[in-house]
């Protein structure tokens, strides 16, 4: 065994390290493939091809128009301005409802984190209203606010408020105790404490709540427009879809649906992803 004799100590001069070999840069194709956007586009192209094949195989334009027909309808209506006008109508409503709902949610969760009564109120209200589909309130809203934008904004607020308040509150509750104490140590309290410590620290939860709220609001709006879009004067995208179906222009139905999906995707990718990249990812609190 090597333990029999005491081993001698030794010292060693270290030779300088040989230069490291230059890393081989990846090929252009590989670099392209590594971009998220490129991979997503490839998936979309595959879906379009599958759609085209299925439509030609079915051979029934009324039930399933081909991808090229839908794309043609989309392009035509984009050029003649109809789709743009419809989208603008939907989006302006959506933004009003979304902003109002988000502001309310923030105020309510700030109150909830400040006082115990506030928390009890918010938790009770959330558990009551969160499972209730916003669209189910539309008949009531029509009764209260009439056939106008007011009703739509009301259901949009309902769609955004509860899920966002819930995730904001859980974000506030998850702020590390040390950080809270550090903030109070600086003499922060009340609104400044919420704004300077709680909101930035809870931002990952708030952002995920905003994403969920956005999707809920978008769905609710389209559903509500399908329901009564025409009566509110100028209809939005939902009404465009409904109208096209009534006129048996199925290609335009698909064009409308594609627009809904496209806007949802654009907002996800360019608005929320950008906010996330500039904040929580940069701060290292979310990967």
């Amino acid at each position: 065994m090597s333990y029999v004799h005491p081993r001698p100590e030794f010292e060693r001069e270290l030779a300088p390290l040989p230069a490291l070999a230059e890393p081989v840069p990846p090929s252009a194709a590989r670099r392209l493939w590594q971009r998220d956007g490129v991979r997503q586009v490839v998936v979309l192209v595959l879906i379009a091809i599958a759609w085209e094949v299925a439509a030609r195989w079915a051979g029934n334009d009324l039930l399933l128009p081909s991808f090229t027909q839908a794309a043609q309808a989309w392009w035509d209506d984009l050029l003649n301005g109809e789709l743009l006008a419809r989208t603008a109508a939907s989006l302006s409503l959506l933004l009003q409802g979304y902003a109002l709902g988000a502001a309310l949610a923030l105020v309510m969760s700030a109150l909830a984190v400040a006082t115990r009564t506030g928390r009890d109120v918010l938790v009770t209200l959330t558990s009551l209203f969160n499972p209730l589909p916003a669209i189910a309130l539309l008949p009531l809203a029509l009764l209260w606010f009439g056939l106008g934008q007011g009703s739509l904004v009301f259901v949009l607020v309902h769609a955004v408020l509860w899920p966002l308040a819930l995730s904001t509150l859980s974000g506030f509750q998850g702020v590390p105790e040390t950080l809270r104490m550090a903030g109070r140590n600086y003499g922060l309290r009340g609104l400044r404490y919420v704004g300077l410590i709680l909101v930035p620290s809870a931002l990952p939860a708030i952002l995920s709540g905003l994403r969920i709220g956005w999707a809920f609001a978008w769905r609710t709006l389209i559903a509500a427009e399908l329901f009564f879009g025409a009566s509110s004067g100028r209809g939005g995208l939902g009404w465009y879809i409904f109208q096209s179906r009534n006129e048996l222009m199925t290609a335009r139905v698909f064009a409308g649906l594609a627009t809904v999906v496209l806007i949802g995707w654009l907002v996800e990718r360019f608005v929320f992803d950008t906010i996330e990249r500039l904040t929580v990812r940069r701060w290292g609190v979310q990967r």
Binding site: M181, A182, P200, W283, G284
Partner: protein
Amino acid sequence: MSSAGAEVVATGPQERQAVAAVASPLLQVRDLTLEYRSEQRTIRATHEVSFDVQQGDRFVLLGASGCGKSSLLKAVAGFLPPRSGEILLQGQCITEPGPDRVVVFQEFDQLPPWKRVLDNVAFGLVASRQCGKAEARERAAQALQTVGLSRFAEAYPHQLSGGMKQRVAIARALAMRPRVLLMDEPFAALDALTRRSLQEELLRLWQELGFTLLFVTHSIEEALLVGNRILLLSPHPGRVRAELDAGEFDLASVGSAAFQAQQQRIHRLLFE
């Protein structure tokens, strides 16, 4: 505005200490009893603890876990209201947290992750309305320089090592020029080498700036090194076991006979 002794202008820490020894203490803790209450039961953290911290002291609270030393520090910081007894800072009773007593915590998450290092240090100054944005950044840059982190002013906390984060935490506390600097086992989460270099740095900063320090640790060696005065606390609940001098020891005396003798004496006081 404050008691006469604390306002004495001294040229160096040693001299200041000599003056302070006869003056009225900066921080007085009187018969402090701290309790944690829940529905089921009450836990007494400390029982009638009293001690005085003089201007310019490096006062160490030392004890095994459960002796209430961190609770004492939290009470001085104003996070934990006393059950009975009182804490006086320059004669004023402490009731809530404030920027005149800045805490350096053990945990790394005391730095807001959404602020760059420089903004982190400036944040406390702006938040406590001590000075405007421009002046705060200037003072923050200065504080960063004293801890040797100027190069990392634009980095985010998550890009720093543990030792660097603690340096930033110390810099942010120093920039605020608190009347007492409170440290709650600030080096406990660091590796031994980094801990040693930060202890050294803390002593150097004290030599340079002459602040008053209240320092919590469970390491006898660290207490002897960092402190000039050590309060020994016995556990469950925390009570004062002894108060010792440790001003004679520095990094060079670690391992010396006197150092070891004092170390053993503390060990005996704490565990027998």
